[in-house]
């Protein structure tokens, strides 16, 4: 109980300081609307269904983009680890793309794919791809030979060994790659929605900010953080469940 109190006390303190500094006029309300005003605005935007429209648009895009990234990225990563030829073909492209900030692609992709869902999904897909490819690749490359040999001498053929042993043993690295991709996906989702969408949380925050509704803008940012936090927590719970065999 005390532990929980100590952990969350700083957050409470920040909220109180926030409220006070805004109410006392220490910081202008135009720059930092009071916490309570933000909460009121959050309630209003939620109650009239406005927020839900944008939240569901954003969740749809991030789910599609990330799912695509996971399927394509892990397949690619495992292929690269299994085949020298595949590695020679794809490695230079990956090495080139790796340091490129994926947000730089947003304007180009909007030109290609327009202002619909597909542009945001594409940006998220491209951004999540590399950490997932690398996770799968490093995981599969790092599998101990003796595990593979054990499976082979227990009668598994090469394909069974790939499924039962290599992919399974690569799971911790793959899951760590997906977690990085998840965090990156939120960044790309919001920034791509700010410039090229008529719906979504990124659009909402930018729109309210442009219109001078700072409390509303903060409410939007609050929802984005809450969703990001919840997604990461949920993912961590899944991660620990899937890797429970390590925590003995």
């Amino acid at each position: 109980m005390t532990k929980v109190a100590i952990r969350y006390a700083p957050i409470g303190l920040i909220v109180i300081l926030w409220e006070l500094s805004s109410r006392t006029g220490l910081v202008s309300q135009d720059v930092l609307p009071a916490f309570s005003d933000v909460m009121v605005r959050l309630w209003q935007l939620s109650a009239d269904g406005e927020m839900l429209v944008h939240v569901s648009a954003s969740l749809f895009r991030i789910t599609c983009g990330l799912a695509l990234g996971i399927v394509v990225g892990s397949t690619l990563g495992f292929l690269l680890a299994a085949s020298i030829t595949a590695q020679r073909l794809v490695q230079p492209t990956l090495t080139f793309l790796y340091p490129l900030p994926k947000s730089a692609l947003i304007p180009v992709i909007i030109i290609w794919l327009g202002f619909g869902n597909s542009a945001q999904i594409m940006v998220i897909f491209l951004g999540s791809l590399l950490p997932i490819v690398l996770g799968a690749y490093n995981g599969a490359k790092g599998v101990e030979n003796t595990l593979i040999w054990s499976a082979r001498s227990l009668g598994a053929n090469a394909i069974e060994t790939e499924w039962h042993v290599i992919i399974r043993a690569a799971l911790p690295d793959l899951l760590a790659g997906i977690r990085v991709a998840l965090a990156l996906s939120f960044v790309l989702l919001i920034s791509s929605e700010m410039v090229g969408a008529q719906r979504g949380m990124g659009f909402l925050v930018a729109f309210l900010g442009d219109g001078g509704d700072y409390a509303g803008m903060f409410a939007g940012a609050f929802v984005i953080s809450a969703i990001g936090f919840a997604a990461d927590r949920a993912y961590l719970a899944l991660y620990h469940h899937l890797l429970r065999y390590r925590e003995a």
Binding site: N145, W149, S153, A169, Y245, R246
Partner: protein
């Protein structure tokens, strides 16, 4: 006349490290192992003992020479040759029972038979009650028991053991050596056993092969003429000490060569 089970003929092997000069690991090595024979291989570090085992397992590509089991050429890994590794190589995401069941998945039997057989081998290695434990929850000795059960349950013709007790503490090693003797007495598999431990080799084997420093060749073969069934009692005999001394001095000569000191 006993039947030849495993035959190595003029086997050569060269390792090519990723960024280095090729290393000649084995040179013109020939060796016959009879059916039901327990043969140990000892020699200095880096003499190619494990390479020999990996070639027989089909894990490394054989470049020159020929290896046969029951007259059939070895080309890839197979369930006729079970292996136990020094660091256990258990599937960490599988429980004890699931690990033991893995080799049975491809056998034609129903799941009740599989489970019964797995249980029999889990009991044999004295892990009753740990069926649902993860490998991470087990001690080193227990992990190696699982690995032994996982390999024996598929009833391989030949059992390859790569320093199986090398990572265990002295007490656990002693206990597992005795248990292996007892299990071997029941199953009488043909065993090829690689070890650093001369004492262990003499205790377990019918024959001990001493390998030379790199490139690995067979230096000498010592027949261990000690009565069976054996247990740790045998280690107190005069003969046992004699075999250990003899083999130890042979290994020592090679270890000195390997470390660059003139014998």
């Amino acid at each position: 006349m006993t039947k030849t089970k495993i035959k190595f003929e003029n086997v050569e092997f060269t390792y090519i490290p990723p960024n280095g000069k090729p290393v000649r690991a084995l040179e013109r090595l020939s060796l016959d192992v009879s059916e039901n024979e327990f043969v140990s291989i000892v020699g200095p570090s880096g003499c190619g003992k494990s390479t020999l085992l990996y070639l027989l397992g089909g894990f490394l590509p054989l470049e020159q020479g020929e290896i046969t089991v029951d007259g059939r050429k070895v080309s890839k890994p197979g369930p006729d040759r079970g292996i136990v590794f020094q660091h256990f190589a258990l599937f960490p995401w599988k429980t004890v029972r699931q690990n033991v069941l893995y080799g049975l998945e491809r056998k034609t039997m129903d799941s009740a038979q599989r489970n019964e057989l797995a249980q029999k081998y889990i009991d044999l290695v004295k892990l009753t009650g740990f069926e649902d434990a993860w490998p991470a929850q087990l001690s080193g000795g227990m992990k190696q028991r699982v690995a032994i059960a996982r390999t024996l349950v598929t009833d391989p013709d030949v059992l390859l053991m790569d320093e199986p007790f090398g990572a265990l503490d002295a007490q656990t090693r002693g206990i597992l050596q005795e248990e292996l003797l007892a299990i071997w007495g029941l199953t009488r598999k043909t065993v090829l056993f690689v070890t650093h431990d001369v004492h262990e080799a003499v205790l377990l084997s019918d024959r001990v092969i001493v390998m030379s420093a790199r490139p690995g060749r067979i230096k000498t073969t010592v027949n261990i003429d000690l009565p069976r069934p054996r247990n740790s009692e045998v280690t107190r005999s005069q003969n046992f000490a004699g075999y250990c001394d003899e083999i130890w001095s042979l290994v020592r000569e090679e270890a000195l060569v390997a470390s660059g000191v003139k014998a």
